[in-house]
Amino acid sequence: MATNSLTEWNDDRTIPNREETRSSEKFIKPAVNIIETEEGLTLTADVPGAAKDALEVNVEKGILTISAPVTRSMPGNPTYSEFELASYYRQFSIPESLDHEKAKADLFNGILTLRVPKAEVAKPRKIEITVS
């Protein structure tokens, strides 16, 4: 199974993948939910701090890339810190049966929702059985 596959069965693999070794810059792998329905695929990701205009979602050669630079800083001197914001970056390989042209991305309250409908041919079809 490819490391960037849609369904990740083996969550605790330790092989560094492209996302981690990509560059010396720090990246955060956003947590995602991927839900498939008959209509298509819905991806939900936590990207707090990412601005709408800087967010990039693209599909190229079956690879979905989400990247969002984060530029937010706090006023004053930091005194206590539990999280550090960095750019978000994550890739998935997604099946060809999806209609990438009709994909819709939406960012609301720090959550990215991406809807990719299935191509007509890939939708389940009900076949009527006529009793003769």
């Binding site: 956003p30 706090m74 004053g76």
Partner: protein
């Protein structure tokens, strides 16, 4: 040793042990990318503090939490952030490929580093981050003292 309280000591010990083991165990996502996910237990939202001469700033990571459903209360020098992150709608007949986002009710109380003026608190929510701006109480602000030459 005048006010040594065995119960308080035990409580402190328990807290220290909790702190030591927090985050230990399953280190699947070393970067804190999973907010309120099943792997990160407790500690939600994550916060950052900063301060300048007159203010204390708190940034809390609350993606997907409706600011209308978030409660912010201040009592003396403790601030409580509570609310709920709505579960992501589950439909029938869907296939879940990945489920890394957590949901549920949360409440976190934070102790403020200085006394603050409870009438001057502002909170704003943008892109999943809640920023609380608290004005320091007059007596907690640094005061400049003139030095006179004699």
């Amino acid at each position: 040793m005048a006010n040594w309280d065995v119960f308080r000591e035990l409580d402190n010990l328990r807290r220290e042990i909790d702190e030591a083991f927090r985050g230990a165990g399953i280190h699947r996502r070393p970067l804190a990318s999973a907010f309120l996910s099943p792997v990160t237990s407790r500690r939600f939202p994550l916060v950052n503090f900063s301060e300048d001469e007159g203010h204390v700033y708190i940034d809390a990571l609350v993606p997907g939490v409706d600011p209308k459903d978030t409660d912010l209360t201040v009592l003396r020098n403790a601030i409580t952030i509570s609310g709920e992150r709505k579960p992501f709608i589950e439909k029938r007949g869907q296939i879940v490929h990945r489920s890394e986002l957590g949901s549920g009710k949360f409440s976190r109380t934070l102790e403020l580093p200085t006394d603050i003026n409870p009438d001057k608190i502002k909170a704003e929510y943008r892109d999943g981050i809640l920023r609380v701006i608290l004005a320091k109480a007059e007596h907690a602000k640094p005061k400049k003292i003139e030095i006179k030459l004699s």
